[in-house]
Subunit: 328 residues, 5 copies
């Protein structure tokens, strides 16, 4: 889908500009033009991007290739790649999907290109639609709006992850299961994927906030600086969450290990208590004794009561001995 | 709660200045003004901050958003974010709560904004109240005072954590339990949270001590340098404590592992000693022998005494063999 | 094998130039010369390289020694070392082989030297053969072409590795075996080897894209910049894959540990249930009782049914006790 | 204890200068003054330090606070904090104690302040006492002397630690015990504490060797450079020792794990050999057979010898089967 | 042993120059002088080094102290410390010994000092001896020669280590033993020691290749650059080998863990199969039944055959149940 907005001061907003007119309007410094390609095949995007005079390499980057967030300064326009993250939950296992948003920013136009619908784009689009003054502040301000919405979306995600970790931490101490482990590893992967996006994105915003570009008004830099600070904080939160997940993993392993210990102790306790008893009973079950054996005195009542005493006292002695070794 | 202090040389200190007068006093370079917003809703703070001419982004940062410690230089004023840490103990498990202190520092005014009561703010406030000369040294000196109190508060906390680790270390060798583990993980999290605050706070102080700001007297930089040195030391202590906790965790795991080993050895010892004996007694319990069996010579007295000898010597032999393999 | 291509504007392409003529043609700035040494012994390469006036150290580097990717600027020519990776699968275990491509780049000539046939070289060669205009753009553009093909080859490899990890991850949860582990370690080694090539290669491309060299047209730098961006993305993908492999290894160990736990629990369960029973049966198997024993009341029917009840109820009690300790 | 030395060319050395005279002598550029405060309460140090015109913050740092090694340049004097490490052995467990040495260095005076007696101070003091020419070379040379002695003390310590690690490494393979572990963790802590001192101390020396200070003669910088090189080497040795301790810990865990394996194998071997035998003997101990049972043919001599053969051959078969699974 | 070589153009090489003449020859810029101290006591080296006018600190460094590789620029001469590594194999356990080579390099002389014989020194010496033209190229070229030989020696060592790792990797999967572990830890230590030498040595060469020194001809820098590239590659190989050793260690632990699992499964299998059987046989061995017991119907033939069926079917059922839990 190709959609476009064109703003000229004191004129009504024009929509759905025919492709042929786009390059002409982009060159007219009085207006502000936004063209958005959403899930459009390269064949239809290519002639428009070429008519705007972008470098073939930049067009290739936008239409064909996948990149980590970056910013290329081509003088009269910037080529910016941003990433956004989609999180879905399969059962209670988190899964992430990372998509790319390509932006060409000129002095008075912005071209956005993406394969999946992006909420941040739609929100900005609608706010432009409702209030033309949003466009009035220039193309670089549109870039700020889009980036701001994009970054703001991470916040609720971070909070959901936080809640999820809290839940899992409780499970870890109460009822650790392989499922808990699977969930933790999935969360770890989500946080790693997020970190991989946040770090280069932060660098892009840092450049926008610090460096001197033809197409960005010096006064607007502080807005990018503000988003940069948000990304710094998001990165910091991400680090904290990763620490929490790491801690939960360690706790899980320790708790499982402790339970294993408990199990082994029980096994050893039972074995230690009953094996000597089994020997005693086996001993007096041998055929050397009664009925026609010669060792009748070994099976007299006195010996029996002695044996009974042994059977009662032996486990008690064993238990005391184990206590002494402090592991019961 | 909004409270304010205004100092003019040779005049008594004024308190609770009406909001409307604040911006006028802030512009008068002869006096020193301090306005403190404590747990005040954004609606009441906003008009005052706007009347002082702060940038909307800075006001947003202060009233609505959470940030890691940072310092923004807006020319005629600085916007500083500091964090402070509250530690509570739930039973003997440590828990932390991090809050934010926003500061606007102009040449002759300081605006502080926070959601929870902060001891460092109250201490500075009271010392200003008692002795107006504290205000006389200027707004930047007030920032120094507040920061100094804030940083000083970490010291007793660090000492309490140190004591706590000492206690746990003793427990680890004597009576390791899952509870010990829980305490160690909680301490680890407290130290990580502290590190996360100390590092950017240190950077803020480093900037205050090194960089040139309109609103900070060059002569006052050495005071910030002093706090910076404290933060360096606190960070160093934090690293040491984290090493200690890490070491205690390793020790815990090793000690638990060693106990597990002991348990397994006991199990194997008991099994190795009694299983062969059980076989011997079982053998002579078979019905092949007495009373009407044909193998009466197998149950003669001689064989019995031989069996008895076997039963006595077998475990001794087993024990020697195990000693030889060096694991008893 | 030595092969060569020579292009002069408006003339047909010359091939297989006699070695003696090479140095003369290399000095003629009007044409473009490409000489490719493929698995040629040093003896035949040496005189040609010497006739072109390369420094003995650079020739040594190219013919005798192995290097990590690097770029040496010798003023009138560049000496570039690139690596390429061959992956073969032995059964389902991955194996890598790293080879070296040495390139001498002058203003109007490019000399390539390698021991194994390289697809990227052959592809560029064929495209030059088909379309002489490829040569027309100069020797530095040839370097771009070769590097581009070289880097493009990694993409399908990365995708194959990704698929391979997906397969293994499924195995890990379903049926972990030492074979799975072997595969994971092999993948880890492949990814490490790839990272070791990508990082210095990225640096070489960064230099080509940023620095000023006599033999590289300033306008062509953006092409190397484009490859640099690809390498950045490849490195990022490599990091992601390494995280996945690391996660799979952790998961494997946890899953194996969990199974071990299950096994131990079963062992303890069986032992706990049957050992006390064995004692009971052993007790009433002793010769103190019947047939001529004096303790006939111990073997009366009442006692038998009591014993029977014990045998039935004891395991149930044991099981409830174990449930209570929450590890069954 | 306060002690002082004052050197004027061609005059005898003066000792124990009265506190009131100190500030006057410190200002006289012809002589060299050294005042040493050893375990002196702040109340007595304070007036002297104030009379010398030091900044209140620097005095606070010296008298009240603890710092990591650092160097503050106050123009006409340097404030230097150095740390020194005391190692004591409690039984064969190493323990460290870190103390602080505060130094004020002026053009012609040096003030040292410490709470515990320091060997390096005493050595320098004695050498000044014996040979006044040591003082003649200036106050900065005294700082060099003290630092040199301080750093030299680490060398025998490093060697003792090295020997200690050697001993423990032998123990690890021969007779690993929890005590070995405790020793290793103690050594690890000593090395970490040493590293924590060495790193900032190295930075202080680096500054003394590189930067331009009013109170340090440019020609004397190479002496500080020499100490800096020593600290580089000490840090390197420390890293090596930490690697050795880390390796010993890994070895310990592996050796213990191996022993555990041996124990488990023995347990399994014994169980595997005797459990089937116990079943066989139990089977023929059932009351179905003799004396009045109907199955007399089951207890005939032939069956007995068959059973005997089974009892002999079964363990052998079991053993061969286990060998085949390669874990005996 | 002190030996010396002196080269003057158009004159025969002089050897074994008397110590007194050394300083005179060193000052004569027409010739090239090389003095080599091999395992010479400090007393004999000291006067010669002093006569050459070296700084006392540099002489101390050379004669008395041990250093990591470093380069000190003393203006008219360089003081260079290089390390070389000796590897011996004690049985099949690798051991390393690191020695120091001190070099003073002037414009027309080079002084080498070492405690152990060094192959690289002897090789350079012999090549000078054979062909005086080697000396003709100047003292800095001699330094290049020595360093080149020194670095070249690492290559066969690296290959031997590589072979050794290959062998151990095979052992790890086939027959892991504590001995394998010991070998791996020894290799790890060798590689760590090598890395510790290579890194600062690389820095020394980097300085020689980049910085401007009075005593090194600018044209000779590319030779040091060449050695620097070798060291980069050696460091890279070292990293690869360390990864391989790390991987082999992980594999070892996993393989041992897997075997442990196998052992535990066998134990549990045997216990699970035979314990219930032992109970059954014990039950019917009780004295409640035959010969005079009242429960004769419990020992009738029908019950016997039922018991026999139980004894045959119980293990089969157990086995199926365990299969179902997927761990057999």
């Amino acid at each position: 889908m190709i959609r476009s907005l064109y703003f000229l001061p004191d004129k009504p907003i024009r929509k759905d500009i025919p492709p042929k007119e786009i390059s002409k309007l982009a060159r007219d410094r009085r207006g502000v033009l936004w063209v958005d390609f959403s899930n459009e095949p390269p064949e239809t995007c290519l002639p428009i991007l070429q008519s705007l005079g972008f470098h073939p390499l930049a067009i290739d980057d936008a239409l064909l290739e996948t990149h980590v967030p970056k910013l290329d300064d081509w003088g009269s326009y910037l080529y910016v790649v941003l990433n956004y993250m989609d999180v879905s939950t399969n059962g209670d296992i988190w899964e992430t999907h990372v998509d790319e948003l390509d932006i060409f920013l000129g002095v008075n136009y912005i071209i956005t290109h993406h394969d999946e619908p992006i909420q941040a784009i739609d929100q900005t689009w609608n706010s432009c639609d409702r209030d033309p003054r949003t466009l009035q502040e220039g193309a670089d301000h549109l870039l700020y709006k889009i980036t701001d919405y994009l970054v703001t979306e991470y916040m609720p995600l971070v909070e959901r992850i936080d809640d999820s970790i809290d839940q899992i931490e409780d499970q870890v101490f109460d009822r650790p299961s392989p499922r808990t482990l699977e969930k933790l590893f999935a969360l770890k992967r989500v946080l790693l994927a997020m970190r991989r996006i946040l770090l280069p994105q932060r660098e892009v915003l840092n450049k926008l906030a610090r460096d001197d570009y033809q197409v960005i008004d010096r006064k607007d830099r502080i807005f990018f600086r503000d988003i940069y600070d948000h990304l710094v904080r998001l990165h910091d939160l991400n680090e904290s969450l990763r620490d929490l997940v790491g801690g939960a993993l360690d706790t899980y392993l320790s708790v499982v290990n402790n339970r294993m210990n408990e199990v082994m102790k029980t096994l050893t306790l039972i074995t230690t208590l009953f094996m000597p008893l089994a020997f005693v009973t086996g001993f007096f079950g041998m055929n050397f004794f009664e009925p026609v054996g010669l060792l009748t005195e070994w099976t007299s009542n006195g010996v029996f009561y002695l044996t009974l005493a042994t059977i009662l006292l032996l486990p008690i002695g064993m238990y005391i001995w184990m206590r002494h070794r402090t592991w019961v």
